[in-house]
Symmetry: C2
Subunit: 395 residues, 2 copies
């Protein structure tokens, strides 16, 4: 007599959480210094000092009823105005508080947009492999059907022919995630313009807009001065999900937002429907003290140097050993071809050496594995002999 879908998602753990649990058990047996856990996307760099200062300022100077009281469902106008200001400065345009709705992280935002766009059961949402595994749960929960665009194996951009082929009259939205989890790739402006042209053509053909949901929690984690194109300027029917989890190292606090540009088709109703979806899911407002912190830190950038050092060490070492992977421009993941081609078999072998990495199959990209490098530099060093031993076994 229980909801079978809910029971399924409540009992079948996602692979990453499962591996993380195995890692915890292994640490108890072998000692934490002998287990090399590369599974989680939990930032390893402490929140910027502005964040800690903002927490204390808010707690020590504001009336506590105001700090902790209900806010409107959309969030405090002053916090949303601060975010709009950052948008105006960084992306150019005339953004206002009304374009934003504060959420409990990017997942709440993404799930609310999906619920708004999936107006009837069976509508299709496209995802581009490799993609964040949890998308399937959110699409399923809204009654939608996930359509996977297979990976472009050359550069992990978007295979535009495969993309176009999979659009149908039932396609209501496409999830785009750049910088990408799990590949670290930034989609180029050329890729995105190609995608936009296809979507415009197909929207006209089918007589309804196909929305892009841009999931951008890694927008500020980019290296070598690379730029992440602002997709709403390339394709007008783009909405954005954002989280401060990665940028400000606040993943447990659940603070992010939904953004709908004024120029999108039916913009006002899109944000209203997403707000209604959030209300229906039991969201009341984003955590109020976090709204105050974000108001003060909306423009703060992360210190990505530790991630940069990790990236360099891990990439150069693995390449030197003969591993095949793309040098990532953003996020904190390396997406590596599994020696031998079987990612699950490789990850099992790695587990025997107490190295935990995530098979690509869950990201829609079998044959690859994800290595999170938001970890301690010294742990990477300690794990390198194990990686070397593993690839030697395939030679």
């Amino acid at each position: 007599m229980l909801n079978s879908k809910a029971l399924h998602y409540g009992t079948v753990r996602n692979k990453i959480r499962e591996l993380f649990e195995i890692g915890r058990q292994k640490k108890e047996i072998f000692g934490p210094e002998n287990v090399y856990d590369f599974t989680l996307g939990n930032p390893s760099v402490a929140p910027p000092k502005e964040v800690s200062e903002a927490f204390l300022e808010v707690l020590q100077t504001m009336p506590s009823l105001e700090v902790h009281g209900y806010t409107t469902a959309y969030g405090n106008p002053s916090a949303r105005a601060a975010i709009a200001g950052v948008f105006t400065e960084r992306f150019g345009g005339d953004f206002t508080a009304d374009d934003f709705y504060l959420t409990c992280g990017a997942t709440a935002a993404l799930r609310s947009f999906l619920s708004a766009f999936i107006s009837e059961p069976g509508l299709e949402v496209m995802v581009i492999a490799p993609y964040f595994a949890e998308y399937s749960c959110f699409i399923d929960s809204c009654g939608g059907k996930m359509v996977v665009v297979p990976p472009d194996k050359k550069a992990l951009q978007i295979d535009l022919d495969a993309f176009e082929e999979r659009i149908s009259g039932k396609t209501c939205a496409v999830i785009v995630n750049t910088p990408n989890n799990p590949s670290g790739v930034i989609y180029t402006e050329e890729t995105l313009r190609g995608m936009a042209a296809i979507l415009e053509k197909k929207s006209a053909e089918y007589g309804h807009p196909i929305y892009v949901i841009s999931d951008e929690p890694y927008r500020e984690i980019v290296y070598d001065g690379k730029k992440v194109p602002f997709i709403p300027h390339i394709y007008r029917n783009t909405v954005i999900c954002y989280s401060y989890s990665k940028c400000l190292s606040l993943p447990g606090e659940r603070i992010g937002y939904m953004f709908v540009p004024k120029w999108a088709d039916d913009a006002k109703n899109v944000l209203a429907a997403a707000a209604g979806a959030a209300r229906m899911a039991g969201y009341v407002c984003a955590p109020s003290i976090l709204q105050q912190v974000i108001e003060r830190c909306a423009g703060v950038l992360p210190d990505i140097r530790p991630y940069e050092e990790n990236r360099k060490l891990l990439y150069e070492s693995l390449k030197g050993m003969g591993y095949d992977c793309i040098y990532p421009d953003g996020a904190f993941y390396l997406f590596v071809k599994a020696p031998g081609g079987d990612d699950e078999a490789f990850c099992e072998k790695a587990l025997d050496l107490n190295i935990l990495v995530v098979p690509g199959v869950g990201f829609g990209a079998p044959g690859y594995m994800r290595i999170s490098y938001c970890v301690d530099y010294a742990m990477i060093r300690r794990a390198l002999p194990g990686f070397e031993k593993l690839i030697k076994g395939y030679k």
Copy 2:
């Protein structure tokens, strides 16, 4: 091409929020001291000092990555163990961390339980009038059908005959809210035993458990030493939604929990299905800093004296003027019969005098109105001449 239900809930404001907005506009026109807003259930008593101290202790002594990092979906075991300890002490029994799942407030908890119990479209969830208006949105969002038990007009307990009549083979759950919003009434042990006997009989008759979802955000806001019966000890298939919003004056922070007693039918799967429902709705974990605060303040009780003084002043003054209402034992609402019998007409007239109260019709109890007394004592005093003028108009 947008989800019509989501658009509906995103554009049609609930009455309380709408009145609150009117109040804001009136304050701008007439000055805040001349507007008497009794609409919101926003605590007016500051959080206990233990809460403020806990925030500072956590921020100043714990590593920030630990404070703000992801927790497991169920929440930190140590926070859940602290809550289990409070349960053991207050209610007697052998409670453990595993019985609890931390949520973003009681609404997230309630909505997750509903999603777990409504295993197919059209299943029925009973609510007992007067009831919290937002229940209808959550039941609707899970595809359920809300069945209303009309108010027991004598004492606003549960009309057990009407209750029994409305149970069908499709009934999967009953929402019980005591101390009650909007009436302030605590259901007596006698009432609850009567309800339990009916539910046991009907569960046996239909061959499946009917669960009680006990929504208890006001459990600690009770007066005159009154006790709130612990429903899982009266009816074994009772799950609990709790929020620290009212008790610790943290409504904007979204922290609460789900509780399933070990002795409930299929207990383990009930909590797992509710956890799965939360995952499907985009919840990742309850805000992590709030988990730390609750770990330190799980047993802290609120200072209810200001509410007690407000209750006395408002109740005695209105009774003296000739208003008819039940003296509330808990929460911070007075549920008053609208003079003339038409609650909406009365509330409109009150609005002309800048007095904002909520019509009972939205709570399933037309003919009544809700007056929130979690407000400034002086505001109540200033509003009394208006209340007097209003009732005189009906004499």
